[in-house]
């Protein structure tokens, strides 16, 4: 089986890019991750992950429009590539496959 290298954080970022549907850029992704997962994420971490994803060819980017609060600077908008989508599906497939092979169903964890 072909292996895809995608870190856990990269996976989250990639999923968020899909979630934001064309409006994915640094700040938005950061806020979305914080909102959705509750983990404390910093801007530079997100940027580093995006950079890696782009190097791996999972996202594509283009410069978007400028807004006032950015001091007239443009934002870089990210979209997922077909390869990225395929990778996400692959990962999901691997997980589903493994879960289905488990001898007993996992109990939902009790959280307080």
């Amino acid at each position: 089986m072909k292996r895809t290298y995608l870190g856990e954080f990269e996976e989250i970022v990639l999923l968020t890019v899909v979630l934001l549907e064309g409006q994915a850029y640094g700040v938005a992704i950061t806020h979305q991750i914080i909102e959705q997962t509750g983990r404390s994420v910093r801007l530079n971490q997100v940027h580093a992950a995006l950079h890696r994803l782009e190097e791996k060819g999972m996202v594509a980017s283009k410069m978007g429009e400028a807004t006032a609060e950015r001091g007239g600077r443009r934002k870089r908008l990210f979209t997922i590539t077909a390869y990225g989508e395929q990778t996400l599906l692959d990962i999901q497939a691997v997980r589903t496959q493994l879960l289905s092979l488990l001898p007993r169903a996992l109990k939902p964890s009790i959280s307080l």
Partner: protein, 897 residues
């Protein structure tokens, strides 16, 4: 422009923004900064301005990551190079391989560089070692900042004098009266004594001192108890060396040694073993005994006017030297009132500190360099050596730079191609610099090997005891490492930086050339020549002065005289008698005599001096006192001005009869000195000395000093320490061998250490000679290095002007014209160098010569000569290249275009 609704919109910290702009890759800057600002305004609303600003800084710092840090993104080669950091091992290996190949291909260049550097390094190792050892003199004592040597300061009417010789009662009195003095020890050195154990007899330096010696100095006892080692008056502490020589592997503790001095033998019990004194110790010893055993201790115990030894004291930690010296003013007034009054009577005035005669302290660390107190080398010489070392290193660096720049133009194409292929400046820099570092390293290694091989030679020539082991001291290693890094950075870094800046396109088009000869290069060349001319002028003048001192008439004939130290194992008077008997009918021996003081510095290295001061008819008279035997004047061929020499036909000569020198006669103020009686006004015993002869002044001590009055007396009882023999001029070597053989008969068991008087005299000028030799060596090296530097620059210029020369030739210039055109610029540089160097040399040497009362006048010919030689050497060096360029076929050089 839009107007903001808030009067002052919140801003993220400016400096953080600037920081980001500085490190961030340009193609990422816009989006990153945009995101950061957007986040900032979001956070301002959420958590307030202050915390938002704080967060902003944290975010900016968070972007210091590989992906965001500045890289060149747009070059076509960036993909390849940007993933190759220039500090990667492979790349470095590659650079060194390239460097090695480049050096191999240009053997001539590499040889000049490596040879120059290794010679310079080698010399610097020697000089730095010498300086290091000298500057660390006595620094191994633990409480060195609290240890002082006392000295007498006297503000005579004509000049101030300082003397480190102290009277015996001084140290105990100091300790008794001042609670600030933690310990005080009298130290009497340079006293050869005969050490006997069973059948072993050795001449050794036995130092007389006090038990406090061990409290002041931190020589660690190898055996024995530090507290009690010297409490007994019959105790002796011996050095490791002496223990080995006498006892071999046996345990010396508790054994009894016999020590003979002043004709008396006494037994001492070994109570401890000291390590040998390090080379950089002012205190030298083979053995330590209590000062109470010093032969003249009893008579002089309470005598405040007989000065014989050094005194070292250790002050309590909180005591300040200046405060303590103030307290000492009273001390001199109390105990040395007589000297004070005498000075006042002679018209001495208090100096700026209000002292006429007082006791002062010299710090232990400065004792070695105090020429008056300890006769060490003046510290200026040490700094001069340091300066010379730096000079040479600097010249070598300049060469290195010039040679590298010269070569960089021939390599311009390589650099251009590399640049075009996308090599970064930093990569080129490291590559070129690594080449320099390689040369420098090879030079250093060769220099170290050279130094290692030449060390014994250097030690022998300059009479030092440098050891390679000193190199392993961290301080010295750090210094050497510093020098290495500095040299590679200066000498390798600059050309590397220069080449890395080349414009790739211009280089590839073949357009690279310095439009005018670099100002930097010219000033480097000039300073190089200034230094070598300066060194040469100074060396020549120093050599002239040394020669002048040597040639100076001393007042006696130093040729053909053998001087034999009697040593401690024999009785000088008996030996002299036996020798006289043996040699009475020998035609090759012209005269034999004995004396108390050697002339010059013999093989025993002992020097002693005895002086006498008295008041004659109300006048203060000071003179050297010299014990002589029959035929002294005959042996040294000192003529008589009046009167006669001591003679066997006058049996009463041994009692109170003296021969004086002319200046002594003048001092006495007697026109007819012969027949007058010299008598001390203060003396009540009615003893007087009759003058039986007057001789011209002669130099009893160094010729560098002024001639001092001398009073010669005769005695049947005082010990004879040296025997002088005048031999016939035909067979000097033969006579020396004969004396050596004869010595075994007349003084059995005593070592023969005879030498010719002229050699001894030469040893007087050792300091000057050493300095002059080191200087000549240094200046020779400086000149060679400078010339190789000039050679390199000439090479560079020729290469740059090949085409110009070709065109000139085609248009009809003769070879002479071209040589003239090419050499002109260099001659100008040399002239500038001379104009700077000559006045500087004159000034420096004028200062130096002022130290000598008998000195040469600086001759203008020295400067003319040095100038001419420098010019000729420069021309020769340059012409080698320019002739080559001038006779080259112009077709060849022009065809390339």
């Amino acid at each position: 422009m839009k107007k903001s609704t808030t009067p002052t919109p919140p801003q993220p910290p400016r400096w953080a923004d600037t920081l980001l702009q500085w490190f961030c890759a340009p193609h990422l800057l816009e989006e990153l900064q945009g995101d950061l600002h957007e986040e900032f305004y979001y956070q301002v609303d959420r958590i307030g301005l202050r915390r938002a600003r704080w967060l902003y800084v944290r975010e900016v710092l968070g972007f210091v990551r590989p992906f965001a840090i500045k890289r060149q993104a747009n070059s076509s080669a960036s993909l390849y190079y940007s993933s190759t950091s220039f500090l990667q091992l492979n790349m470095l290996k590659n650079y060194f391989t390239l460097a090695w190949r480049n050096l191999w291909r240009n053997k001539g260049y590499a040889t000049i560089n490596v040879a120059g550097l290794s010679v310079a390094f080698c010399i610097c190792v020697f000089l730095f070692l010498t300086v290091y050892l000298q500057l660390t003199f006595d620094s191994f004592h633990q409480d060195k900042e609290r240890i002082f040597q006392t000295y007498f300061f006297a503000n005579n009417p004509d000049k101030t004098t300082r003397s480190g010789n102290m009277p015996l009662p001084l140290a105990p009195a100091l300790k008794l009266e001042y609670e600030e003095v933690e310990a005080a020890a009298r130290v009497l050195m340079s006293w050869k004594s005969l050490v006997t154990y069973q059948d072993k007899n050795l001449d050794k330096d036995v130092v007389f001192t006090d038990p406090d010696f061990l409290k002041i100095f931190s020589f660690q006892l190898l055996q024995g108890n530090r507290e009690t080692a010297l409490t007994n008056k019959n105790s002796i502490l011996i050095s490791q060396n002496l223990a080995q020589a006498i006892f071999g592997n046996d345990d010396p503790m508790g054994k009894v040694l016999q020590i003979t001095n002043g004709g008396k033998q006494k037994g001492y019990m070994v109570t401890g073993i000291l390590p040998d004194a390090p080379f950089n110790s002012s205190i030298r010893y083979d053995a330590l005994v209590r000062i109470e055993n010093y032969p003249n201790y009893l008579p002089d115990q309470k005598n405040w006017t007989s000065n014989s030894h050094q005194v070292f004291i250790k002050l309590n930690p909180q005591v300040n030297q200046a405060t303590f010296e103030k307290r000492l003013k009273l001390f001199a007034r109390k105990y040395l009132a007589e000297s004070l009054q005498n000075l006042q009577k002679n018209g001495a005035k208090p100096d700026s500190r209000g002292d006429i005669f007082t006791v002062r302290l010299q710090q232990l660390s400065k004792v070695h360099f105090d020429t008056e107190i300890s006769k060490g080398p003046p510290i200026a010489i040490i700094y001069a050596l340091l300066g010379i070392a730096c000079f040479i290193l600097f010249i070598a660096c300049i060469n290195f730079i010039n040679l590298s720049i010269a070569r960089s133009f021939t390599r311009a194409k390589e650099v251009g191609v590399r640049k075009y292929l996308g090599a970064l400046k930093s990569q080129l820099f490291v590559q070129i610099w690594s080449e320099s570092a390689l040369i420098c390293f090879i030079g250093l290694a060769l220099g170290a090997i050279l130094a290692h091989l030449l060390l014994p030679e250097f030690n022998a020539t300059f009479d030092t005891r440098l050891q390679y082991a000193h190199l392993h001291q961290p301080g010295f290693l750090a210094l050497l490492l510093g020098v290495f890094i500095l040299v590679t950075l200066i000498a390798g870094g600059y050309p590397a930086w220069l080449m890395a800046r080349f414009n790739a396109v211009a280089v590839l088009k073949g357009k690279i050339s310095l439009k005018k000869p670099g100002f930097l290069r010219n000033s480097l060349l000039v300073s190089q020549f200034v230094m070598s001319c300066l060194l040469t002028c100074c060396t020549i003048i120093a050599l002239q002065q040394v020669e002048h001192l040597r040639q100076k008439p001393l007042g006696f004939e130093k040729e053909q005289v053998i001087s034999i130290p009697v040593g401690t194992q024999a009785n000088g008077r008996q030996v002299l008698q036996r020798l006289r008997n043996k040699l009475a009918n020998d035609p090759t021996v012209l005269a034999v005599t004995g004396t108390s003081v050697n002339l010059g510095k013999g093989k025993d290295h002992v020097s002693s001096r005895s002086t006498i001061g008295l008041t004659y008819k109300g006048k203060e008279v000071a003179s050297d006192l010299l014990l002589v035997d029959y035929d002294y004047l005959k042996t040294l061929q000192i003529p008589l001005l009046a009167g006669r020499e001591f003679s066997k036909s006058y049996p009463s000569d041994s009692v109170d009869r003296v021969i004086i020198t002319q200046s002594m006669a003048e001092m006495l103020g007697e026109k007819q000195a012969v027949g007058t009686f010299i008598k001390d006004d203060a003396d009540t015993t009615n003893s007087k000395m009759e003058v039986i002869g007057v001789v011209p002044d002669f130099h009893l001590y160094s010729a560098a000093d002024e001639k001092r009055p001398v009073m010669m007396h005769f005695s049947h009882s005082e010990p004879i320490n040296y025997i002088f023999i005048r031999v016939a001029p035909q067979s000097l070597k033969y006579s020396m061998d004969k004396m050596k053989a004869l010595w075994r008969e007349v003084a059995p068991g005593s070592e023969y250490t005879g030498s010719f008087l002229d050699e001894n005299i030469a040893a007087w000028y050792q300091n000057e000679e050493k300095l002059a030799q080191i200087c000549s060596l240094a200046s020779a090296i400086a000149i060679i290095l400078s010339c190789s530097g000039l050679f390199a620059v000439a090479l560079l210029v020729m290469e740059q002007r090949t085409k110009e020369i070709g065109i000139r030739k085609v248009l009809g210039a003769s070879v002479t014209d071209i040589i003239y055109i090419l050499s002109r610029d260099f001659v100008k540089l040399v002239v500038v160098a001379l104009v700077i160097a000559i006045p500087l040399a004159w000034f420096l040497m004028h200062q130096w010569l002022n130290n000598y009362s008998y000195r040469i006048e600086i001759s203008a010919w020295v400067f003319v000569g040095v100038g001419l030689v420098a010019m000729v050497l420069a021309l020769l060096t340059v012409s080698f290249q320019s002739i080559k360029a001038a006779i080259m076929n112009p077709v060849k050089s022009l065809k390339t275009e």
